[in-house]
């Protein structure tokens, strides 16, 4: 029998893609609805509210800042610096000072003159990375500092602290001495915004118990002043700078 002699209907060939289009072209009344769709809407809003609560609850029930003891406050500050954890750093500083950025900046500037030793020259490889960072970031000094932090790897080793009463006898103040500890610093040029050819990582170590020197001459026992606010202990940058000035003469 030839093909022309078939006695049954041959369905027209409809491509698979066209069949899918036809299914989509079903009448609008064919859109699904009813209880399943209602439950879908309820489920979507329920999930949205649940996800919102995940973020909202921590914001409503704000954690306390500060620490339980003077030593814990200083440890939080130093560890926060080592971790470049801005939240930990700000949370460890006296809220009276952190509420006013100008006051906190002024206190830090005064304190930093006692933190950075004069007369000491950084190793050449460290200086090279810092210069490269400054060249790449053509913004404010603050922006450059932020960019440089991206190249930093810090590690805190063997931090030991000891608390001594405030010399003025105030029970809501205490001095925390840094008895031992070392901050290992690595500057990685590969982490700067632009790659730097032929530059290796630069590393050095900062002994935290060595004491701050003024003009490279006078050694003092390093300490920070802590203050108590509503039962929590914080590091006061202002009080620390004030207390260090007479020590340095």
């Amino acid at each position: 029998m030839s093909q022309d002699d078939v006695d049954y209907a041959v369905p027209a060939a409809v491509p698979r893609s066209r069949r899918r289009e036809r299914a989509d072209d079903a009448p609008a009344d064919g859109l699904w609805g009813g209880r399943p769709r209602t439950w879908l809407k309820v489920g979507c809003w329920g999930l949205a509210v649940a996800l919102l609560l995940v973020l909202l609850l921590p914001l409503v029930t704000v954690d306390e800042t500060g620490s339980d003891s003077p030593e814990a406050a200083v440890a939080q500050l130093v560890q926060g610096i080592a971790d470049t954890d801005v939240v930990a750093i700000i949370g460890a500083v006296d809220p009276v000072e952190t509420r006013d950025p100008d006051r906190a900046d002024a206190a830090y500037d005064r304190l930093s003159t006692r933190l950075f030793r004069r007369g000491e020259v950084a190793p050449p490889d460290v200086t090279a990375v810092l210069v490269a960072a400054e060249r790449q970031i053509s913004g404010s000094p603050d922006l450059t500092a932020v960019a440089t932090v991206a190249a930093l790897e810090l590690e805190l080793d063997g931090l030991e602290l000891r608390t001594r009463p405030d010399p003025g006898g105030a029970s809501s103040r205490a001095q925390v001495l840094i008895v031992d500890g070392e901050l290992d610093v690595v500057l990685d040029p590969a982490r700067l915004p632009d790659a730097v050819e032929g530059m290796e990582k630069a590393a050095y170590s900062v002994p935290l118990d060595e004491g701050w020197r003024r003009d490279g001459a006078v050694l003092v026992q390093p300490f920070l002043v802590t203050v108590e606010r509503d039962g929590r202990w914080y590091v006061s940058l202002e009080a620390s700078a004030d207390a260090l000035l007479p020590e340095l003469g």
Partner: protein, 162 residues
């Protein structure tokens, strides 16, 4: 017309359309989860934001620091808030819902990507989980846009006129 006859003559439900809508809703749910999760993890692997999550910064602002009003801490809810509204309206049909969806997705994507690009400009080559989640949320939302249904049932008294 009796109920059995009406049921027999009703237009068939498009299973393909239903599947596409369900996949779209699932993608919006994933996008919302990604944008919410991005607030709970650091966005970069190095730099000043490497140890800090957006939610931690918001909690600190809520505690009142740096002279910033505590209410500013709620700003962290803006990006996930957009994603959660998008999730809520995901099952809705019609031109209005579609327009709202496109506008919200564009605003969320622009805000998220601008934040990632701005922060990466000072902490380059350090993208972390948070930044990846923001981008993933944008992509998932974009894919979900293509699966939404614009048309609505012909009869306003139909089972679902949204």
């Amino acid at each position: 017309m009796s109920a059995p006859v009406a049921a027999a003559t009703a237009a068939p439900v498009s299973s393909t359309r239903r599947r596409r809508e369900l996949v779209g809703v699932g993608l919006w749910a994933l996008a919302a989860a990604a944008w919410v999760a991005a607030m709970l993890v650091p966005w970069f692997r190095a730099g000043v934001t490497a140890s800090t999550t957006p939610l931690e910064v918001a909690e600190l602002l809520r505690a009142g620091v740096l002279g910033v009003p505590p209410v500013a801490g709620y700003a962290v809810l803006l990006l996930p808030g957009i994603a959660l509204v998008l999730l809520g309206i995901a099952p809705l049909r019609g031109g209005g819902a579609m327009a709202a969806r496109v506008v919200l997705w564009l605003v969320g994507t622009a805000a998220g990507l601008l934040l990632v690009v701005f922060l990466s400009s000072i902490s380059a080559q350090t993208f972390g989980v948070g930044a990846a989640l923001v981008v993933a949320g944008c992509v998932l939302g974009g894919a979900a846009l293509g699966l939404a249904t614009v048309r609505v049932p012909a009869s306003p008294d139909g089972p679902d006129a949204t």
